[in-house]
């Protein structure tokens, strides 16, 4: 079973600090593998351990994304491919999924593509489904369990309070939730092996992509502004009455401010 895992390197937001104006201090911010993408790697490794095959991890980003790919190899992935090119810069989710999709097509034979549900910096949950769309394969999203039998894959899907069992024929793309597994601590032997491996860097010329679909140029989304909500000092108003009265008063006040 050949599995391709798409991962993203993100700022470690547990170590974020803000300046006096409330803006995120980005310089020197450590980066990590998007946590749920580690669950995606773990899911792939477990399937490989059960069914054999190979796990290839790909990631698009600046040079430092190699650190994330190296860590994926240290967890036990067989291969890693780094997608780095100025032409990829500024990609929105559509251009990102196009680039990853084209890359997967170039890699060729695969049975499964696995991604985390969403990245902790963007929280769009769009890239995985859009890759499936690009590849023209079924999407099984929000998986908390995966079971492969022959050419069929079943997942347990978590949709809020509802769980569903979904089934599809391979190949498919699965987006996984963090509840799917506890990802492994990097085993020492895999760390030693990882440092013996090369991580090839693929640019726009390495993949069969139409350049108009890459990066900022290929992105239909335009970001107008990023800002931190301004903190304002306000008056504390204590509501009194029975819990029901208080709830009603609170709802009325929020409604009057168009907050609900």
């Amino acid at each position: 079973m050949n599995i391709i895992v798409c991962i993203k390197q993100v700022p470690n937001v547990t170590k974020v600090s803000w300046d006096a104006d409330g803006s995120l201090i980005r310089s020197g911010l450590p980066t990590i593998i998007n946590p749920v993408d580690k669950n995606a790697i773990e899911a792939a490794l477990q399937l490989k351990e059960k069914h054999g095959g190979k796990v290839t991890v790909i990631s698009m980003g600046p040079d430092q994304v190699q650190e994330a790919l190296l860590e994926a190899l240290c967890m036990g992935a067989d291969d890693a491919i780094q997608l780095t090119d100025k032409a990829f810069a500024g990609a929105d989710t559509w251009a990102t999924s196009y680039t990853l999709g084209v890359t997967i097509e170039k890699i060729g034979k695969y049975d499964l593509v696995i991604t985390g549900v969403e990245a902790m910096d963007g929280n769009t949950a769009q890239v995985g489904p859009q890759i499936a769309e690009h590849l023209g394969i079924p999407l099984l999203s929000y998986a908390t369990d995966i079971e492969v039998s022959g050419s069929t894959v079943k997942i347990k899907q978590k949709l809020g309070d509802v769980s569903r069992l979904l089934e599809a024929s391979l190949p498919v793309l699965i987006t996984v939730e963090k509840e799917i597994n506890e990802y492994r601590v990097m085993p020492i032997d895999k760390i030693l092996e990882a440092f013996e491996k090369d991580i090839p860097v693929w640019g726009a010329d390495s993949i069969p992509a139409d350049v108009v679909n890459l990066g900022l140029k290929g992105s239909p989304t335009r970001l107008r502004k990023v800002f931190s909500p301004k903190l304002e000092k306000g008056r504390v108003e204590m509501l009194e009455g029975t819990p029901e009265d208080i709830s009603r008063q609170l709802a009325d006040k929020l409604s009057a401010k168009f907050l609900i």
Binding site: L70, E71, C74, E182, V185, M186, P187, I188, D189, K190, I191, L192, A194, F195
Partner: protein, 383 residues
């Protein structure tokens, strides 16, 4: 000597930190409840491939350096957990058998020490001696193709766990010769072996160190490690490596004690400002930090000598002489920073202090290492 921490070294440290954060709490919770190692502990280390660092891959090891291992041990030492001791033992006994053993012994005994199916042990100490081979009372008497072992060993770690141990005995077939100790690899589940309950130490909570008794225990001659009469040499070489590993763990212990003291001194408000802002405290923090760093560099120097294949017995003794009092002092100071809280089991510094005390008396005493280092200095022709 190059002390650079490479990207590979850093990744091993990262894995060890993750192990501390995600796996160690479960181990420690088990040990707190059961006052013993979890029965699956060695398998767990094997699963994370933390065994057999300096054992060739053909015997199930990792085929890497001891330096990588001590980086791991330093991180594990930061947890204050006792559970790094079996990890050290399986690594060092595997390496020792590879160094002294026959091809047959390496193939038979080393892979189980790397794959987590055997717990390793080393046994020399007896009720009447901890370092003098002439005082050994446990005997090995030849009988056909076997030796028959009788006697007892004291303070033996993991001896009641399934697996293999190296036991140093007085070899009766060498009676009257200058060196009459022989090392035997013994299956700890052999008929005739029994154990005491385990000791309760000042620190090392949950350690299963106990006495072991041999009553006509039959061991094949093929299980002699090295040559007859080399038992004490095997012990000395093994314990030299073990001392460096132990010191690496204690560097971690000292580092954590320093970090805890620093954290507390920033949290604790005295007269309207953090306690650490007072000169009396930040001067002590400076001393703690540099003491730990100096110990770390001493450990690096010793392990790099071992990895380079140079003699390391004396430098290992020097590591013990240098690091033991310093790390103990750092952990004691960390307790003092915390006041009465530091003397309470609610705070980690209490555990770290008690853990650091073991270095002075276990894996050879501080004093015997002063003898090794001092005699070596005295007899050395170089300065």
């Amino acid at each position: 000597m190059d002390f650079t921490i490479s990207p590979l070294n850093r990744m091993i440290i990262k894995a060890a930190k993750e192990f501390n954060e995600r796996v160690m709490p479960g181990i420690d919770a088990y040990m707190a409840e059961h006052n013993d190692y979890p029965p699956y502990l060695i398998e767990l280390y094997a699963k994370h491939r933390m065994l057999g660092f300096n054992v060739p891959k053909e015997y199930g090891g990792l085929g890497t350096t001891n330096f990588n291992m001590i980086l791991l041990l330093e991180e594990l030492g930061k947890s204050g957990s006792t559970s790094f001791i079996p990890l050290m033992m399986n690594n060092s006994i595997g390496e020792t058998i590879c160094h002294w053993g026959t091809e047959e012994q390496k193939k038979k005994f080393v892979p189980p020490l790397c794959d987590g199916s055997a717990w390793a042990t080393m046994a020399f100490t007896e009720p009447d001696t901890g370092s003098d081979p002439r005082m050994l009372m446990t005997t090995a008497r030849p009988d056909g193709d076997d030796f028959i072992i009788n006697g007892s060993k004291r303070f033996i770690s993991m001896v009641n766990k399934p697996g293999y141990g190296i036991f140093i005995c007085k070899d009766l077939s060498l009676a009257g010769q200058k060196t009459d100790t022989t090392a035997f690899i013994i299956d700890k589940s052999s008929p005739g072996i029994s154990f005491s309950g385990h000791y309760e130490f000042t620190g090392l909570e949950g350690a299963d160190t106990c006495d072991v008794f041999f009553n006509d225990v039959r061991v094949p001659k093929g299980n002699i490690l090295g040559k007859q009469g080399q038992g004490y040499s095997i012990l000395l070489r093994w314990i030299a490596g073990e001392r460096i590993q132990q010191a690496a763990g204690m560097v971690g212990c000292g580092q954590r004690a320093y970090e805890e003291a620093k954290k507390y001194s920033l949290q604790r408000i005295v007269a309207g400002k953090p306690m650490g802002m007072m000169q009396g405290f930040y001067w002590q923090l400076a001393e703690m930090k540099v003491k730990v760093e100096a110990c770390r560099l001493m450990v690096y120097k010793a392990i790099l000598k071992q990895d380079a294949g140079e003699p390391f017995e004396v430098v290992s003794a020097e590591v013990k002489v240098f690091t033991t009092p310093l790390i103990q002092e750092v952990t004691r100071t960390a307790v003092q920073f915390h006041g009465s809280y530091g003397y309470s089991k609610e705070y980690l510094v209490d555990k770290l202090f008690r853990l650091a005390m073991h270095q002075g008396v276990m894996a050879s005493s501080l004093e015997i290492n002063k003898t090794i280092a001092g005699m070596s200095a005295l007899m050395s022709k170089s300065s």
